[in-house]
């Protein structure tokens, strides 16, 4: 079959160009690893202020749990929370402990909260223990690496596949081989299908390795099924592949292909849920509807953070499939530029 001829050729080319192959797989892992270092890094030592009404036993336990403990008056504590010199302030309301978290840094919040809980749990065996928590700044909804990790997996897969697919198809256009193919009995759809399958094989490997790396090596939060993660990352990659091919029709050089990154990829990163869009104007927010990454990131987060299954992500899957088919059809049409038939 002629489509298979293209598939086999792409596989050959990939193994010749090991650097591109590596870029596709290692680069996203590398960036995720850096992100992991930045956000999860070394165990954070929280600075916790305690009022003088906190029992000494608790203070000892806090120190044992690895916190940097300061004794401060209520007034001093409030001042230092404002200045971000302490991460949390522990105070007793009668017998009920009350912790005030500084709040703007999720890492510090978690570390302080965990330390205090640990301290209390080890001395009060009763499960009735209640820690009252308030936030000085921010709220408990603040994102952490676990929260935007799934989005990042989607972003990096989308980005690298888009770039590599776009550039390789562009090369086919600029070095004349696409035109040469047009002198053969190949049909336009066969070229598109060949590319989708050939690249699809590599993006499957890529998506699997990156997902495995993020979940098993970087220990990203994973509540749902790995299979679903693979489906979503694969579909995102296919969408990026078809979109990259399509946009390469509007670029005359590799440099011009790069110029699509700020136009096509970056806005999607902003709108895909990495940042909270609730405060944005409604019409602006609705832009995310036309962005494939929105659906991929949303589904990944549903699976990995919320542990959701098929019924929740099905809609996202259909939309991603729809985008892929749409871009493929547009590709077949765009090839008319080279041959009408």
């Amino acid at each position: 079959m002629r489509v298979m001829a293209i598939v086999v050729r792409i596989i050959h080319q990939f193994f010749r160009d090991k650097r591109t192959l590596a870029l596709m797989i290692v680069a996203p892992m590398f960036v995720l690893l850096l992100m992991d270092f930045v956000f999860n890094g070394e165990e954070y030592t929280p600075v916790i202020a305690v009022s003088d009404n906190v029992p000494d036993a608790v203070v000892d336990k806090l120190k044992e749990a690895g916190a940097n403990v300061k004794e401060l008056s209520a007034k001093q504590a409030r001042k230092q929370l404002d200045d971000q010199e302490i991460d949390a302030w522990l105070n007793m309301n009668g017998s009920a402990p009350h912790i005030t978290l500084e709040g703007s840094d999720p890492t510090a919040n978690q570390a302080a909260l965990a330390t205090v809980q640990k301290a209390f749990q080890s001395m009060v065996p009763t499960p009735s223990f209640q820690l009252k928590t308030t936030y000085w700044h921010g709220s408990s909804d603040m994102a952490s690496f676990d929260y935007f990790g799934p989005v990042l997996i989607g972003v990096f897969i989308f980005f690298f596949v888009f770039l590599i697919a776009g550039v390789s198809f562009l090369r086919e256009r600029t070095n004349g081989t696409l035109e040469r193919l047009m002198a053969t009995p190949l049909r336009r759809w066969e070229i598109v299908a060949g590319y989708m399958i050939g690249f699809g094989l590599f993006t499957t490997v890529q998506a699997s390795l990156i997902s495995w790396f993020a979940i098993d090596v970087l220990d990203m939060m994973m509540e749902g099924s790995f299979g679903y993660v693979l489906i979503i990352t694969f579909l995102l990659a296919m969408t990026a592949l078809a979109l990259g091919m399509l946009l390469s029709a509007f670029a005359n050089s590799e440099l011009q292909m790069m110029q699509f990154i700020p136009l096509v990829v970056i806005p999607q990163v902003f709108f895909s849920g990495l940042f909270n869009l609730d405060t944005m104007e409604e019409w602006l927010r609705s832009l995310s509807v036309v962005m494939p990454l929105t659906y991929g990131a949303n589904a990944l987060r549903d699976i990995m953070v919320r542990g959701q299954g098929w019924s929740t992500i099905a809609a996202d899957i259909y939309v991603l499939l729809g985008f892929t088919v749409l871009f493929m059809v547009l590709n077949v049409v765009a090839l008319k530029k080279y041959r009408k038939l």
Partner: protein, 242 residues
């Protein structure tokens, strides 16, 4: 000889926007004939052969190849095309390039292997078959392109400036090869801007600014204009008198 010509070009014009690139060109090419298209660069030679190959469509008039109105995909399978620029995959070896194109033309199995081996032998690249093409010299790439165009034993062979940038020895061997292919009954169209290469063609079409100035055997064209060389004949037909 009653056989229909392999290639019939009838009153063909091609416009890109308002620009007329080919203006009312008619010509026939028969089986077993080498037909040369001679003209300066920019004359429209490439556009004309692209229409014959089925890549481009005529704005007016008809191009018929092997009895079918072009462009038509099943007929394209019977045409061999060698583009002006070497359209090869540089990271792949010569062998892999040939395997790719052979599969596209539907060759498979033993037949495919045989054809590839024969063609590599023919263009003298058998020893370099495992080398990636980006390590090839310009001449080697031209030869590989020719081998690819011949892979599927086309009945019509279209060569767009096949010997550009090729040394004289190699050029001679390519022409010797073309004569061999011609003997098997293949219709060959060659574009060139080199006068002494045009001498080797059975018949010649002189083309300038998209118009066919004259068609005939090289010696006919010379005697008709009482010229010593094709260059003088070309100038004569082009309306320049010395």
């Amino acid at each position: 000889m009653a056989a229909d010509p392999c290639i019939q070009v009838e009153h063909v014009s091609k416009r890109f926007g308002k620009k007329i690139v080919i203006d009312d060109v008619s010509l026939n090419v028969h089986a077993g004939e080498i037909f040369g298209l001679l003209g300066p660069s920019g004359a429209g030679k490439t556009t004309l052969v692209r229409m014959i190959a089925g890549i481009d469509q005529a704005s007016e008039g008809a191009v018929r190849v092997l009895g079918a109105d072009m462009p038509e995909l099943t007929t394209m399978k019977r045409i061999g095309f060698m583009a002006q620029s070497d359209a090869l995959y540089g990271e792949l070896t010569a062998l892999e390039n040939m395997q790719f194109f052979a599969s596209i033309y539907g060759l498979r199995g033993k037949k495919k292997k045989e054809r590839i081996d024969d063609m590599l032998e023919l263009v003298n690249l058998a020893d370099d078959r495992k080398k990636p093409v980006h390590q090839y010299s310009g001449g080697m790439k031209r030869r590989l392109s020719l081998a690819i165009a011949l892979l599927h034993e086309p009945e019509v062979l279209i060569l767009d400036e096949p010997t550009v940038g090729i040394d004289p020895v190699l050029r001679q061997s390519i022409w010797a090869e073309l004569k061999q292919i011609q003997k098997r009954g293949t219709a060959i169209v060659v574009t060139t801007h080199i006068m002494d290469e045009a001498e080797k063609c059975g018949r010649l079409g002189m083309i300038r600014d998209g118009r066919l100035l004259a068609v005939g055997r090289p010696d006919e064209l010379k005697s008709e204009t009482k010229s010593q060389t094709l260059e003088q004949a070309f100038l004569h037909f082009g309306g320049v008198h010395q």
